[in-house]
């Protein structure tokens, strides 16, 4: 799979977040998205995941057949997509059935992340780090070429960070792509860095704000 982003510009609630972001990512490559707090790292991932429309620019994927970009990717972010009343196994089985292309069983995925004992526990009983690991186990239960990770090491202990680095290395060796928004080194060898700079002062944005177009 190859992902190309050209001149992405994003505006949210009338405010320009970033402009003219371009990159190309080929099979096996990784991209680290960095930038100060509020620079738009998570916004960029939301655009890639198809949850936000860019104001300008294009996103294209090649070599994935008929699948669209949102159908080729996994998202693990701050909102972990886990339902608290359901057990870890139920959450993973649901993700596997919903997303298709199943690979590992929920049990095998959780054991890889050292959470085999939490299989039958409701996710509500787990700590923040354990929840994050259940969300990361989703990466293993079905195969998708692009992983979008938003600060994947948040709340993770050192051992789990090592496991995650190993997972990402194996994924890339199999031809997968990784895009991670992060403040820390993730153990991504040879990853390229995309630094999101503050958007240029932009006459149109300040105008819309001044006319009160955005009132919420």
């Amino acid at each position: 799979m190859r992902l190309t982003a050209q001149n992405l510009t994003v505006r949210r609630s009338g405010r320009r977040i970033f402009s003219d972001v371009s990159f190309t990512l080929d099979a096996g490559e990784a991209l680290m998205v960095t930038g100060r707090n509020g620079a738009g790292k998570s916004t960029l991932l939301a655009v890639l995941a198809g949850r936000l429309k860019p104001e300008a620019g294009t996103l294209t994927v090649a070599k994935v057949g008929e699948a669209t970009l949102p159908e080729c990717l996994h998202v693990v972010g701050h909102r972990d997509g886990l339902k608290s009343p359901l057990t870890a196994e139920e959450n993973l089985a649901f993700a596997r059935d919903l997303l298709g292309m199943p690979t590992a069983s929920p049990r095998a995925a959780l054991e890889e992340l050292g959470l085999g004992h939490a299989l039958k526990l409701p996710v509500a009983y787990l700590s923040a780090g354990q929840r994050r690991r259940v969300a990361l186990a989703r990466l293993l239960v079905c195969r998708r070429p692009l992983w979008l990770l938003d600060e994947p090491t948040a709340a993770l202990d050192v051992a789990s960070q090592g496991v995650l680095a190993g997972m990402m290395a194996r994924h890339r060796a199999e031809g997968g792509l990784v895009i991670a928004a992060t403040h820390q080194a993730l153990g991504l060898d040879g990853a390229r860095e995309l630094r999101i700079a503050p958007a240029r002062p932009d006459a149109r944005a300040s105008q819309t704000a001044a006319t009160g177009d955005v009132w919420w």
Binding site: A49, R51, P70, D80, S84, P85, L86, E90, L98
Partner: protein, 223 residues
């Protein structure tokens, strides 16, 4: 693969409704409470109660449907499950359809099935009970579909429940009118029972199409 994904969605929502904090039985209890309170307010006039009984049951059904509708998409928006559904190899319309189906199975269907029992509280006779139950069975899907549009529109608004009710209630009026008139036509009158019932069924089908498309569009363009 699409069927498997939809089955997983319906099964998950049913499981969530059954677990602690789910709204599964809640709307049924709310329905019972509204119906039970009315005789206290009107007094023990059995003729009056049995005359307005179908209307009371329908009003209670409309209000009970609103319970839990605000969380239909909001809960998934908050915890990121909606991002998963965006990435599923399934059109958003079918996701909406699966979620609405699960919601109706846990609210609308129990209401329709419990209506004959609750009809006892408002002194309905056998024919009226059967008629009201049948009209609720046909009409409550329309209420859920209409509510789903409001729910999708307010998914990213905190405490959007009240806005949802204000947006959605006026749109439920046609369903309410034909639901009640069909129930009353069964008790005799100039109009045969099937006429308003057919219109009610038509309303449900229209709401099914328009509601599914509109809710999916609202979820896609939520920001």
């Amino acid at each position: 693969m699409v069927m498997r994904a939809l089955k997983a969605l319906v099964a998950r929502d049913l499981a969530l409704a059954a677990r602690v904090g789910g709204s599964g039985a809640l709307s049924l209890v709310f329905f019972l409470m509204i119906v039970a309170v009315v005789p206290f307010a009107l007094g023990p006039d059995l003729n009056l109660l049995s005359r307005i009984g179908p209307a009371i049951l329908w009003l209670a059904a409309v209000l009970a449907t609103l319970i839990g509708l605000d969380r239909l998409f909001q809960a998934d928006e908050e915890d990121g499950s909606l991002d998963l559904m965006t990435g599923a190899p399934v059109p958003m319309e079918l996701v909406v359809l699966a979620k609405v189906l699960a919601h109706w199975l846990t609210t609308g269907l129990p209401l329709a099935l419990a209506a004959p029992l609750f009809g006892l509280l408002v002194a309905l006779d056998g024919t009226a009970m059967a008629a009201t139950s049948l009209t609720l069975l046909v009409g409550t899907p329309a209420l859920t579909f209409i509510g789903a549009v409001g729910s999708a529109l307010t998914a990213s608004i905190r405490r959007g429940g009240l806005i949802l009710a204000v947006v959605v209630l006026p749109l439920m009026i046609p369903t309410l009118i034909f639901g009640v008139s069909a129930s009353e036509a069964a008790l005799g009158g100039t109009v045969p029972f099937t006429t308003p019932l057919a219109i009610l069924a038509a309303l449900t089908l229209i709401a099914g199409v328009v509601g599914t498309l509109a809710a999916a569009a609202a979820l896609r363009w939520s920001e």
